[in-house]
């Protein structure tokens, strides 16, 4: 009894008992761990045995894979896949002009290629592809899918310079680490003065256009156009002196956005303020395609258009709304709360009805915009409100210490949100965000009630076709629709789980 038991050697690591590892161990643990578990296992196997064989038979073995409607009528108790095959084009494109469907194909291929490139981590230039998919792709799709004439005004060299001068100038000056900003400012101002002098001189000489051969190099520009673009440029130029570096960047970016909108407006022929309406010689049509009005859009393509617009628009809008709702500024907070609660309190069907029937009543006569566009805006705002609440949940889960840590380093509000808070908050709410996306994707079927034929609408329209009146046709159509939706939603869900795992950087404090 004099000596206590002491381990004076290191005990070797032993393998675990055989019954707890491998297939046997797994089955013991998951299938037969208790009497209740054993019972459930047996019942489940029974249920599967009852359900699976008839399902396989209906879907595959006795299904009609070839032939026409008659084959399906002859075999009413099995899937009628020939129906899906025969109507596949309609399911994908709706009533889109047959000869123009290649445009949809191109956009679909681009979309899937883009998504694949983004999902695969090692794609070179993923950031740029992402930017293209978010900004360029929607514009390109609108042009490609809608068709019609797209072009630029036939601007003379002089016009181009007058338009580019402020854009280049502002872009340069808003870069706050630009060396010799003042010199560049002076050079650009000199160009401006030259442009004005040229305009005044040629106008005084009675010339409105100058041609070299068949190219127009000068055409009259309204003086106020130049002056309006000159003022913001000079403002920025003035700021270079006072050393207001940060303001310069913000103001500059804001101005560039305004200019971009004006230039885009030009391109898209949107009504611009008359003072910015430069005198045009003519229009150069760059792309000319048959116009396919949105009324003819349909099928899976329409489902994608609505769902993707909603997804792409709702996340940034939702983030802004969520930040607004947590803002210290009462006016912004109230505005955001009212917006969110309004859209959340209204069923999507009502939103769609309002957008398609009531909105035109509020617009001035003569102004109307596309039915689909209205539905898109309705869906985007509706899902933005839901997204805002999801994001707010994430914002609230971030400990106060993170805000204080960012504050103590001197980060501004937007830097703090963008670099510290949102990356963490959005990561937490990935499941909620994807949940909203999936909900949105499935809710697109509701556009049926305002007369747009999405995938479900297209399938339903095909089922009603008297040539295909067989008992199994409707079932097959709906099973097919369900399967397509399931594949898309399950894909999103899997990707979100993958993202969660990837972004997990250990437990946080």
């Amino acid at each position: 009894m004099s000596k206590a038991y002491v381990n004076d050697e290191r005990h070797p690591d032993l393998p675990p008992p055989a019954s707890t590892v491998g297939a046997v161990g797994w089955m013991r643990e998951h299938l037969f761990s208790s009497p209740a578990n054993i019972l459930m296992t047996v019942v489940s196997i029974g249920l599967l045995a009852y359900v699976v064989p008839p399902m396989v038979s209906w879907l595959f073995t006795s299904a009609v894979w070839s032939g026409g409607a008659d084959a399906c009528r002859a075999n009413p108790d099995a899937a009628c896949w020939t129906f899906v095959g025969a109507r596949f084009d309609q399911f994908v494109y709706g009533f889109y002009e047959k000869t123009e469907r290649w445009r949809v194909d191109i956009m679909l291929i681009l979309l899937f290629a883009g998504i694949a490139a983004l999902v695969y981590e090692k794609t070179p230039g993923r950031k740029w592809i992402g930017m293209f998919m978010l900004i360029g792709y929607p514009i390109l799709s609108w042009i490609m899918l809608l068709g019609g004439d797209w072009g630029t005004p036939n601007i003379s060299l002089y016009n181009v310079i007058v338009v580019l001068l402020p854009i280049v100038g502002i872009a340069l000056l808003s870069y706050d680490r630009l060396p010799s900003a003042r010199t560049i400012g002076i050079v650009l101002t000199a160009f401006y003065l030259l442009a004005i002098a040229l305009l005044l001189g040629l106008t005084a000489a009675g010339k409105t256009e100058l041609w070299i051969g068949s190219t127009v190099i000068y055409s009259l520009v309204r003086l106020d156009t130049i002056i309006i673009t000159l003022i913001p440029f000079l403002g920025l130029f003035a700021l270079t002196k006072s050393g207001e570096m940060e303001r310069r960047g913000t103001i500059g970016i804001a101005m560039l956005v305004v200019f971009a909108i004006l230039v885009l407006g030009f391109f898209f022929d949107l009504p611009a303020p008359s003072s910015l309406d430069m005198t045009l010689v003519d229009r150069v049509v760059v792309v000319s395609m048959v116009e396919v009005p949105t009324k003819q859009w349909g099928g899976f393509m329409l489902t994608l258009v609505i769902a993707l617009t909603g997804i792409v628009a709702s996340l940034p809008l939702g983030v802004l709304l969520a930040l607004g709702r947590r803002s210290n500024m009462p006016a912004i907070r109230v505005l955001c709360v009212v917006f969110i609660e309004f859209w959340r309190g209204v069923p999507l069907i009502t939103v769609l009805f309002m957008a398609s029937v009531m909105l035109p009543l509020f617009l001035p006569p003569g102004v109307s915009f596309d039915q689909l566009l209205r539905a898109l805006i309705g869906v985007a705002l509706f899902s933005a409100a839901y997204m805002a609440e999801v994001v707010r949940g994430g914002l609230q889960a971030i400990p106060k210490g993170q805000y204080e840590g960012a504050d103590s380093l001197g980060l501004t509000y937007w830097q703090k949100m963008r670099l510290i808070i949102l990356p963490q908050a959005l990561k937490i709410v990935i499941p909620g965000i994807v949940n909203t996306f999936i909900g949105l994707f499935k809710d697109t079927t509701l556009v049926l009630i305002i007369g747009l034929f999405d995938l479900l609408g297209a399938v339903q329209a095909s089922i009603a076709d008297p040539n295909w009146n067989a008992k199994s046709v409707a079932y097959t159509g709906y099973v097919f629709t369900a399967f397509v939706f399931w594949v898309c939603c399950y894909g999103m869900s899997q990707y979100s789980r993958y993202l969660e795992r990837k972004l997990h950087t250990g437990h946080k404090r």
Binding site: G401, D407, L409, T505, G506, H507, K508, R509
Partner: protein, 257 residues
């Protein structure tokens, strides 16, 4: 104690922090009552007191993590008002370490250290990384630079937090109970870094109960209770010859076990 400041010439003023008649309320509760404090450049001040005495609140007022309602706080010659620009200007020059570190868990140690210099000071990335590495070496964890905070021990995280603040080249450092959330084994590694910093002449305000640290580096120890500064003195005097009864009681409680 006029110490050379690494930023050189721009500092002419000898006073780093000046607080005049400052009051603060949380709703109805009067947390800070008539605080008057002058901190000279290069001075190291330890603030102690029972919990709820307002010591953390006071130093958090210095970089406006808490807003004061009355009185005046002047940091580096800039008065703290509701003007966001002034607040940002002060925060750029004042580093802070928290009880719970408040590292950014989604960023690596390196990114934690370079984020503010890059975005706030507009330092080029490469230069910011070199500076960060220098300070990480100084707190003796350069090898952890590419890990995430969640993979580090508490003491390592606090040292990263100190390095992160130093990367902004601050003139004043605030420490809000930097060792109270740490395991006993890790306290000394953090204190060593703080002592090192003090010896280089950094202006420091530390809320801490590490009395050994106070004796070793502080120029002045401040005792707070009930939202007021009860007593302030040089460390030797403070510990050996406390004046007020409240201070005596406090010292006897924390030193006698």
């Amino acid at each position: 104690m006029a110490n050379a400041n690494p930023n050189g010439a721009q500092i002419t003023d000898e006073i780093a922090v000046q607080i005049n008649g400052m009051h603060k309320w949380y709703g109805e509760f009067h947390v800070l009552k008539d605080i008057n404090l002058t901190v000279n450049r290069g001075e190291r001040i330890v603030i102690c007191g029972p919990s709820g005495s307002g010591k953390s609140t006071m130093i958090r007022c210095i970089n406006r993590l808490e807003e004061h309602q009355q009185g005046q706080i002047i940091v580096n010659g800039t008065e703290l008002t509701s003007d966001l620009k002034q607040i940002d200007a002060v925060r750029r020059e004042v580093g802070m370490c928290f009880q719970h570190f408040n590292l950014f868990p989604h960023l690596t140690i390196m990114e934690n250290c370079t984020l503010a210099p890059i975005w706030v000071r507009k330092v080029p990335k490469k230069e910011a990384e070199e500076t960060a590495m220098k300070y990480l070496e100084r707190v003796k964890i350069p090898e952890q630079a590419h890990k995430y905070p969640g993979q580090l021990s508490g003491g390592q995280q606090q040292r990263v937090a100190i390095a992160r603040s130093l990367c902004m080249n601050p003139e004043i450092m605030l420490f809000d109970e930097p060792t109270s959330a740490l395991d006993p084994e890790m306290i000394s590694e953090v204190l060593d870094v703080m002592i090192d910093l003090a010896q280089e002449g950094m202006t420091m305000l530390c809320v801490t109960h590490e009395m050994g640290f106070a004796r070793k580096v502080a120029n002045r120890v401040i005792f707070m209770d009930g939202g007021q500064i009860i007593e302030q003195n040089e460390p030797e005097e403070f510990f050996n010859n406390p004046q007020s009864e409240r201070t005596q009681l406090f010292l006897s409680q924390i030193l006698n076990h």
